[in-house]
Symmetry: C2
Subunit: 147 residues, 2 copies
């Protein structure tokens, strides 16, 4: 479904958002620790997302990563998936048939059509903020336990 990079990116953002809601800026080691993702690799992913205005990064002491209220409000899971994995998951035919549609369907087209629609809904309707609130409420988690 998602690539490792995308999973890391979403988990990192969920954590950063959960702290941003509390007006906290977090460092890459914190992110790595709480999201359970390799620090250097996650840093590279966050750099890419930062360039795309998904979150903000700051160098120097008191630096780190943070999401603005605007970003918390606007960024959807779909935006992150598109940046990291491209839009295959949102648009591609499940059998890889180029130009698959209701007129020229692949053999799985109709079985998959509803699922694809629901995946699109999930990705476009869920914001990073939505991922974060459950974390802060202790209702959801990013890893089994924090070392």
């Amino acid at each position: 479904m998602f690539s490792n990079a995308c999973e890391y990116g979403l988990k990192a953002l969920a954590y950063i958002a959960s702290r941003s809601i509390e007006n906290q800026r977090v460092k890459i080691w914190d992110v790595s620790k709480y999201a359970g993702s390799p620090a250097a690799f996650t840093a590279k992913i966050l750099g890419k997302l930062s360039k795309e205005n998904i979150l903000n990064s700051y160098t120097g002491p008191n630096g780190g990563f943070q999401m603005s209220p605007d970003q918390l409000r606007d960024v959807k899971v779909a935006d992150v998936v598109r940046i990291i994995d491209g839009d295959d998951l949102l648009v591609k035919c499940i059998m890889g048939l180029d130009g698959c549609n209701a007129d020229k369907p692949c053999p799985l087209h109709y079985q998959y059509a509803g699922i694809k629609q629901n995946i699109n809904k999930m990705l476009t309707n869920t914001s990073i903020y939505d991922l974060a609130v459950g974390l802060n409420a202790g209702e959801t988690m990013l890893r089994r336990e924090v070392k």
Copy 2:
């Protein structure tokens, strides 16, 4: 969703099944041509599937690939996906959270639960035969046009 290898495998099987229904055995070049997949790579995938009794292969003149009536009846898309891609798609957490469940859910758990269930249904309820009948009826296709 599926790997390239899995897409090739499913398309190849759909074509082989469509010919097997007509009691025809097909050669790898035919498969490659009609499924639009690289021949040598597809052959390797079919070799693996053949070992797992998804279809039968025959060497020599009049050789090729064919599915038996039993295989046509019994083989589900899920079987093929499991052999080629493993069972991640059927069981894994969308965020990669180890041990994600309703008690310890990842932030996307509830949004994804229904989708995951529907993916499982699609894969376990659809047989390779189902993929083939639409092809023979001219209702579905495996590639834009055959060169």
